[in-house]
């Protein structure tokens, strides 16, 4: 298949598949009315997103009340103080990945009913670089622009004092399937907690190889890097309820 054939095939596939999307016959009028200030644009939000926001808010409030003691205990506190099943957690994993700008170390994994979570320690390869997670408290404003402050352990610090001239490396790790991510910054550094929902239970019990995508961007130079973390897990059992 030539590149041209590939492109034609992709166009045909996408145009057919998305042919059900319907345009809005009144869009032009709404745009003009909005520009003239007559109508505020509604930010629509899907029902599923609203549910997720509610669940995340509850989870984050629980996290705020706890100290970081490791992912098993962290998740145990969120789900109401369950004792962690030893076979539901693997630590230390110490699986290391070396990117162009960052070293990523998967330190532990935990399988609970909401999915498989990994903890990734993020270290910059250079002392002149400072990794950060996109949604660290206070760091980004609503439009995604870096502000002048960052919150660490609840304390606001001027960004320049924290940066000390280093390049800021925005980083994220995400599951290949559906899931979510969060972060924790401790004296030991930056940790990302990444959860993949709906893992294959049978595969997990035999030992699984899961893929997580990572990407990072140097905010000062624009350099980017991305790739895949292949996380090898031994046979695990899922954490279910109280032990």
């Amino acid at each position: 298949m030539t590149l041209h054939d590939e492109q034609e095939k992709i166009q045909k596939a996408m145009n057919e598949t998305l042919s059900g999307l319907q345009g809005d016959p009144w869009l032009a009028q709404r745009v003009l009315a909005n520009v003239k200030g007559d109508i505020k644009m509604k930010k629509r939000i899907s029902v599923s997103a609203a549910i997720v926001i509610t669940l995340l808010s509850v989870s984050i409030l629980a996290l705020a009340a706890s100290d970081w003691v490791g992912i098993g205990e962290f998740l145990g506190k969120i789900v109401g103080g369950w004792t962690v099943n030893e076979q539901a957690i693997v630590k230390p994993l110490e699986q290391k990945y070396s990117g162009a700008m960052l070293d990523l170390t998967v330190t532990e994994a935990y399988w609970a009913e909401d999915g498989l979570s990994i903890v990734v320690k993020v270290d910059a390869k250079s002392e002149d670089q400072l990794p950060f997670y996109s949604f660290e408290d206070g760091l980004l404003d609503e439009e995604g622009n870096i502000t002048d402050f960052i919150e660490i352990d609840g304390e606001k610090m001027k960004l320049d004092d924290w940066r000390q001239g280093r390049d800021m490396i925005r980083c994220e790790v995400r599951p290949e399937g559906e899931g979510w991510s969060w972060y924790q910054r401790t004296d030991e550094g930056l940790f990302l907690v990444v959860t993949e929902w709906n893992v294959d239970g049978d595969a997990m019990k035999k030992g699984a190889l899961l893929e997580f995508g990572y990407s990072c961007e140097n905010m000062q130079t624009g350099e980017t890097d991305y790739g895949v973390l292949n996380v090898e897990l031994p046979p695990m059992s899922v954490q279910q309820g109280h032990k």
Partner: protein, 160 residues
């Protein structure tokens, strides 16, 4: 404005939906795109086409939406049952291929949607994404490799 909306609304809706995976958000993104286009009409340079210019705005609007706090923490992967019902018959292989393109990592997805769906040249896509021509080429190459199996399955089932 009516002419622009009439000509480009559907194309931009498909682009935004393929990027955001949510029909309601895609409609908001399209509306915001045309609002921004109207407000910045004086900045439109005749050196690029209207479609390129609007696609660039649409991608940036979609990226801003994707960065918003709630959206960021939900990885909205697409499965076949989440795709909208097609107005014309779409084979399962085509739906699979579409879903796989929509599930590409964001930076590969951007390049793929602009070049393959919006039929932009590498130069136009590079301008829209504010990256180099080589970066566009590299991202498309990676996207093709990720889509290899889906493309082969689609080829097997497509009539000549």
């Amino acid at each position: 404005m009516e002419r622009m909306v009439s000509m480009y609304q559907l194309s931009l809706l498909r682009l935004c939906y393929a990027y955001l995976h949510d029909e309601e958000m895609a409609k908001d993104a399209v509306q915001e795109t045309f609002i921004k286009a109207y407000r910045h009409m004086d900045q439109f340079r005749e050196t690029s086409s209207e479609k390129t210019w609007l696609s660039r705005i649409a991608i940036n609007v979609s990226k801003d939406m994707r960065r918003s706090a709630w959206f960021k923490h939900v990885d909205r992967s697409i499965t076949l049952d989440m795709l909208p019902e097609s107005a014309c018959p779409a084979t399962e292989e085509h739906r699979n291929l579409t879903a796989e393109i929509m599930n590409l990592p964001p930076k590969l997805r951007e390049a793929a949607l602009l070049c393959w769906l919006q039929e932009m040249s590498y130069s136009e896509a590079a301008e829209a994404l504010e990256i180099t021509h080589q970066a566009v080429s590299g991202r498309l190459d990676r996207a093709r490799r990720k889509l290899r199996k889906a493309l082969e399955r689609s080829e097997d089932h497509d009539p000549a």
